[in-house]
Structures are given as C-alpha cells and as structure tokens.
Amino acid sequence: MEIFAQQIFNGLTVGSVYSLVALGLTLVYGILHIPNFAHGALYMMGGYITLTMMTKFGLYYWIAIMISMVIVGLMGVLMERLIFYPLRDAPPIQDKIAAIGILLFLEAFAQFVWGADYQTMPTPYGQVVSVMGLTFTMQRLLIIISTVVVMILLFLFLKKTFIGSAIIAMSQNREGAHLVGINTNKMAMLTFMISGALAAIAASLSSPINLVFPGMGHLVILKAFVIIIIGGMGSIPGAIIGGYILGFAESLGATYISNDYKDIFAFILLVLILTFKPTGLFAKGGHS
C-alpha cells in the first residue's frame, strides 16, 4: 500500500510536467492546427536558460524561472513571426518540416553554447521530507503545487478575460474570430508566448530531478504528442488529464511491471486509445 501511494505521488510529479508541456502544445495546435515539433526544443531551452541564470548570474531559482519563461516565450513569438506566419498559406507539410528544422537548429545551438554534457540544476528545495509514510524531496512537492497554480491561472485567463477567451474562440472558429474584430495575428503570437512560457516552467521545475542536456526535450515532447492525441488534439482538459494518466501509467508500470519499459507505456496507451477511441478521450466534434 505504501509503495502504491509512493508511486501515485511520483506519477503526479511526472504527470504534472507532462501536462504542462502538453498544454503548450495543444494551445498552439488549437490555433494553428500544426503539431509544433519544435516545442521540445523550447522545453530544452527553458532548462538551459534557467540553469544559466542560476549558475552564471547567481540568480535565485524563482527569478531564473521567470526570466526563462519570458525569454522562451519570446522565442516562441519569434518562431511564429519568422517561420509559421510566412508559411500560413503554404501546404501543411511545410509547417511540419519547418518545425523539425527549428528543433534541429535549436539543439545544435544548445550544444554549441552549452556543450553536450549532462548538467545538474541546483534547487533550493532539495530537502527530503517524510509525511505519512511517503518520502519525497521538496522539489517534487513543488512541481505538483506549482503545476496546479499555473493551471488555475491559465484557466482563469482563458475563461475569465476577453483576451484569453479570444484565444479559445479563435481555436473554435478562426473566421468567426475575424468577424468579431479579434486580431488573429496578435492572438497567434500571444499563444506562442504562453506556450513557450509553459515549456520553460515545465523544464525548470523538472530539471532538478532530471538533468539538463541538449536532447532533454526528445522523450518529453514525444510523450506530450501522445498525450494530446490521447486527450484529443487541441483539447485543454484532454492535455491536463492525459498528462496525469500517462504519469500514473508510467510510475505504476515501472514499479509493478518493469522499470526498463517505463518509456514504452506511453505508446502502449496510445495504441490502446487509438484502437478503442480513435478521436481521443476529449474529442471535440470536429472543427467547424
């Protein structure tokens, strides 16, 4: 029972990070209808920028994260302006190829600037605590709590503000958004900004328990894609719930089946869901 509780806790930690990454991916998908393969590179940049802010500039963890969110957010905006916007009328395959191009470019860039070594990110929350038979580091607790806070803020923004609702509106009907006077260019940029910031905070939260290296985004982004396919492409609740489902499946699977197959569960889940509910758990009745 204790092991089970411990694994649920771990699943919650891992699932939090997945959810944050998947949220950014699904927001951009909702607006642009392209799978942004470069999202994993934004995640990686987020890790490096936070790390650099802490080690080179001696900034406090949270300040470093804030700066990282802003910089990676702006990188997202730049990506939209320089690459996806000019391709808006091109056949969809070109967006995808461009996204892969950005991914490769940013990874080469990271390797050039920071080297290929694995680096550890320090955290002020390294202490180990035991509560009711659960043993964990404060960092893990921090991941779970911060994620919930970020999600609540995002929810309030999307649901309760005009600008946030405009993003949702645009994802449901782009022409309708034009008709009510929403500047869809601005909304696309804002969405990329948020998406980048989400990737940055996810990477900054998870890096102290994982590592920072140029390929750190690979598995995360693959899994995030699985999540948004499971959850229904473009669905926000789908991304959140899908992230946690995968987190639980991985940590329980690692314990009760085998740790060696941890990274495979995502894809088993994918096959199962695509077999029984091909449109995803939260399919949205098509884009009209």
Binding site: A166, I168, Q172, N173, L179, S288
Partner: protein
C-alpha cells in the same frame, strides 16, 4: 455611407466579382440579390477585409477601407453575419455574445446595456444563455449570429443569407427582426436569394449575376422589372 467603386475580386485566376459599384446610404436597408455562386459572399468578405480586392476601392464614411484588416474594419463599425454563421460552437450563447463585444472589451457598462438590448430582441438567447452555441437549432444559431454582431454596436451590418435553410415561419421572424434592427439606426446590407421577402423590407437593391451587377434600383423598380420577376420572384 458605404461605397464600392469598380471592385473586382479574384480567386487565383478566376474573377469572382467584376467591376461592382454599390452604394449604401445611412439608415437604409439595401439588398444584394443573386443566385448561388453569383458572388454575394465574395463581395461581403471583401468589404469585411477577409479578401483583398484586385481592383477598385471601398469607402466607408469617406475613408478608404479596402486595405484595412478585418479587425480594423470591425472597429470602424462594419460587422457581418457570414454565411455559415461562424459561431464558436463549444462556447455558451453568453460567451459568444461577449466575444461579439470584443472591440469594446474595456467598456463593461456599455456591454451590459447592449447585452440587455440583444436579449430583448431575442428572448430565446437569454433563455439559452448557458447552452453551447453548437447545440442550438439552425434558427437559434442565426439569431445568435445576429446577436453577436449587434454586440459590436455596428453602424453597418452585413447579413449574408440569414434566411437560408430556415423554416418559413422563422424566416418571416428573421426579416421582422432585421426591420427592427434597422429602426435603431443600424444600416443594413443584405444578401439574399429570397427576393420576395428581402425586397419587402429593403429600400433598394442590386442584382448580381456571375460577379457583375446587372440591375439596380429601388425595391419598387426591382419588383416591376421583368427580368427580376422572372428570375427571382417566380412570376
């Protein structure tokens, strides 16, 4: 108020609208008649900035708007209820209406008042305010599209075939509402195939065929025109 001068629009090499002149005066209801594929929606999209014209110019209250973005055009006071309604299907009726007021988002008090007016015009929208737009019937969706457009407090409203696919009784209501909206100083440009009903509420009209205006005149003149009677009034 609105003036199209020699407007042509192309899709690739295909000229969907040729050399169209249209004039809409303040406070009028003007109808643009034409069968399927005549180019009515293309004219509307071009006025709304969703398409650029290849030739000609569009003036609104003395200013050129043919280079403006859709969002700028809505801000100058032109709003449209497009073909297919273009609602936000997974948002509630209320949320759709609020999005209609997007350009006035800072004026909370005014939005409140406009919402009240829209609910008065369409009580059913108030009743269904918490339902998803996608779950409404066709007639209700059309009302929501018009309500959403009204939320932007337009000076000129473009209505693209509001009666299409609706039961006759609903169509009659729809035209009644359009007349009512016009009474509150909103100018209306209406695209229709339903010539009979449209000409009854309109002050004047244009007939569009294959992208060109072939007849224009007051409603009385169009009613009396032999070609119009044959082609659009089934006489």
């Amino acid at each position: 108020m609105l003036k199209l001068k020699g407007v042509s629009v192309q899709y690739g090499a295909y000229k969907a609208v040729r050399n169209v002149d249209i004039e809409v005066g303040k406070g009028e209801i003007v109808v643009l008649l034409g069968s399927n594929g005549a180019g009515k929606s293309t004219v509307f999209k071009t006025i709304g900035g969703l398409h650029k014209c290849t030739e000609g110019e569009i003036m609104f209250e003395g200013k050129r708007i043919d280079q403006s973005s859709p969002a700028q055009i809505v801000k100058t006071g032109i709003v449209q209820c497009a073909e297919g309604r273009k609602l936000f299907p997974r948002m509630t009726v209320y949320e759709n209406l609020m999005m209609g007021a997007f350009i006035h988002r800072k004026q909370k008090k005014e939005i409140e008042n406009t919402l009240h007016e829209v609910y008065e015009l369409f009580p059913i929208l108030k009743e269904k305010r918490n339902d998803l737009a996608g779950s409404l019937s066709g007639g209700q969706q059309q009302m929501l599209a018009i309500g959403r457009a009204l939320m932007s407090k337009p000076k000129l409203m473009l209505l693209d075939e509001p009666s299409i696919g609706l039961a006759p009784i609903i169509v009659a209501q729809m035209f009644e509402v359009i007349k009512q909206i016009n009474k509150t100083e909103t100018t209306i440009l209406l695209a229709e195939q339903n010539a009979n009903a449209a000409l009854h509420i309109a002050h004047k009209g244009y007939v569009l065929e294959n992208g060109s205006i072939v007849v224009e005149g007051s409603s009385e003149e169009l009613f009396a025109d032999d070609n119009v009677r044959k082609a659009y009034l089934g006489a």
